[in-house]
Amino acid sequence: MEKLLLLGAEAIAQGAIDGGMSGVYAYPGTPSTEITEYIQNNKTAIEKNIHRNWSANEKTAVEAALGMSYAGKRAMACMKHVGLNVAADAFINSAITGVNGGLVFAVADDPSMHSSQNEQDSRFFGKFAMIPILEPSTQQEAYDMAYEGFELSEKLGVPIQFVLLPFNARKRYKGLLDKQVLMEEEAENSKYNIYYEELNLSGEAKLKTDKSFGIIACGIAYNYLMENYPNRDCPYPVLKIGQYPMPYKKIEKIVNECEKVLLLEDGYPFVEEQLRGFLDKSKKIKGRLDKTIPRAGELNPDHVAKALGKDVKAELKIPSLVANRPPELCSGCAHRDVYNALNETMREHGKQKVFSDIGCYTLGALPPWNAIHSCVDMGASITMAKGAADAGVRPSVAVIGDSTFTHSGMTALLDCVYEDTPVTIIIADNSTTAMTGGQASHATGRLEEICIGIGVKPEHLKVLTPLPKYHEEMVKVLREELVYEGVSVIIPRRECIQTVPKSKKEKRIKTEEVV
């Protein structure tokens, strides 16, 4: 057996490749990006010509993956948790249409919001769509679940959490409902749902079983539980859950047998809420809802230790001189020049706010610029600026990146053009998807054509070069367009400072090849 050192995301990628996947479709988003990047660089994937280019957004990714599955091939769509919001329409209806080739949705959650705007729990989406969910606790499980996911999808027709999979519902909702029984049976007998009653967590016979407490641990929470028993000698019955719908019989057993039940799950209290119901005011269920575990934030071994009544020892404190260090726009980044020019121009209009979007340029909300004032979802800046303009706001300005624009800004621009709404849309074009590490941007080389095609008037489509030496020129163009009573699009274009060296090298290689 080959030994590989893999991140969880990479384990999913390798599992999908080994599981016979013909294509991956994705839009980059932390912490899911590495799944697709791994496949893009994988020798087997290249040899087999597995589809591995980026998609314009998560919805197009899920739809393309569904199409590949329709044609009988195994496919995967990957996204971060908020990407599933974008893909929701296609995602939920894929459970109704059903699949031919196995279809796996890998959705990466971000509890504690390390690099996201919320910590929504994707298991709710899986339940909403009524498809099975697999929640791995280890990299090995992530590999196994991705590998086996296609077959499970073909057998039942279904999606997974970290690895989410959809299902063959035979075109009708009734079919999907009928399949629920099978899904429940699968979950009940799944090797990922294990009830450790008489056995230690290491599989040896328990010295004693203490049923004053029962513990239900979902996915990675199981690891935090084990961490608190270095010899794996947890005296309480433990139910480990890694596959949904929930294994109802096993849950019933542990709840009936134990005096109290502690729920350990990352993300939202998904299982806990279902067990408790809002009428249940008993003290039997312990978890996030009764604050035994903090209501928000990433679960960790210390939270679990406290819930088990164990000591948490942090002898050392963070010295008071340690200052916060938020991320910042790189030195030399073109967005700096865009915001310097925009701030100067906006000052002439008093305290008017600027709508923006999700990308590196969102950092313009922080000092010293404080240049933008909203960040809601991909593409929202343009349509929010439209709504504000409709409400009488002048000037109404949106700042959006090139990749975000092709992800979800193009239809918003069409709404503006349709009514010739007085908005100024700045598409900050650094010719890459910078925030996630410099993936290709679908906008590169075709932004002007897209805007003209959608109906922007050529005389109000301005391309600028954001450099300090062109500051005055940028201010002049912005000043003119801000007061124009119709749709203006301004494209400040300069390549991302982080991708410049790479693309220069590629150009050199290409030139050498031509020579």
């Binding site: 030994k3 050192l5 991140l7 969880g8 995301a9 932390t30 912490p31 390390h114 690099s115 990675i220 690891n223 935090y224 539980l225 084990m226 961490e227 960790n300 071994p301 210390d302 230790a305 948490v312 020892k313 942090a314 002898e315 050392l316 404190k317 963070i318 010295p319 001189l321 340690v322 200052a323 916060n324 260090r325 938020p326 991320p327 910042e328 726009l329 790189c330 590196c360 950092l363 910078a434 925030m435 996630t436 590490g437 982080q498």
Partner: protein
């Protein structure tokens, strides 16, 4: 053998290469290993950290519990202090002393060094200067790995092979520069304090 390690620094300073090198060496020695994804924004300039755990025995949690880390390796001095609640009483802090100043309220350097020196087990090393001395200015992260290596129960040869595997595709010259930086950091740490470990 068990080493629970917190890696810290500022986005773009190369803590992932340190983690990957240790990981490769651990894999070669058939040790168990878990590394949590880097926490922090993917852009440059912000605080980033990663938990890395290696052990002879199976490892449960990806995250290190508070007060249980054996080692903090930091490529930036202020960042080294941010994770002190994770350090165990007998744990070591190995930090670069070259500051990365990109915030207006960066603390006074002397006070910062005093805080580091308060710790009974610490190594403060000017990794940037050492990297420049060995003519590998971009390898200060490998200097840091070298300085931390006496505290890892992994042989020098294994770590060197780890560096070869991680940097191999960038060519022999880059591998050599990184190994030289690694050696310089290791020599500094061994001279800095008699740690007694190979």
């Amino acid at each position: 053998m068990k080493a629970d390690i917190i890696l810290s620094g500022v986005g773009g300073q190369g803590i992932l290469s340190i983690a990957a090198t240790i990981g490769m060496a651990a894999l070669e020695n058939d040790l168990h290993l878990k590394q949590a994804e880097v926490h922090g924004m993917s852009q440059r300039g912000g605080a980033v950290q990663s938990h890395l755990r290696i052990s002879e025995k199976e490892i449960a949690s990806d995250l290190i519990p508070l007060g249980k880390a054996d080692l903090i390796i930091s490529v930036e001095p202020m960042e080294s202090l941010r994770y002190l609640p994770y350090l165990s009483e007998s744990g070591w802090l190995v930090t670069n002393t070259t500051p990365f100043i990109n915030i207006p309220d960066y603390p006074d350097m002397n006070e910062l060094l005093l805080e580091i020196e308060k710790l009974p087990h610490h190594i403060a090393i000017n990794a940037d200067e050492i990297a420049r001395k060995v003519k590998s200015p971009r390898s200060s992260n490998m200097v840091m790995l070298g300085a931390a290596s006496p505290f890892l129960d992994i042989t020098y040869e294994s770590l060197e092979r780890g560096i070869q595997k991680i940097f191999g595709r960038k060519g022999e010259k880059i591998v050599k520069l990184n190994i030289e930086a690694f050696e310089a950091g290791r020599d500094f740490a061994i001279a800095y304090t008699p740690v007694g470990s190979s």
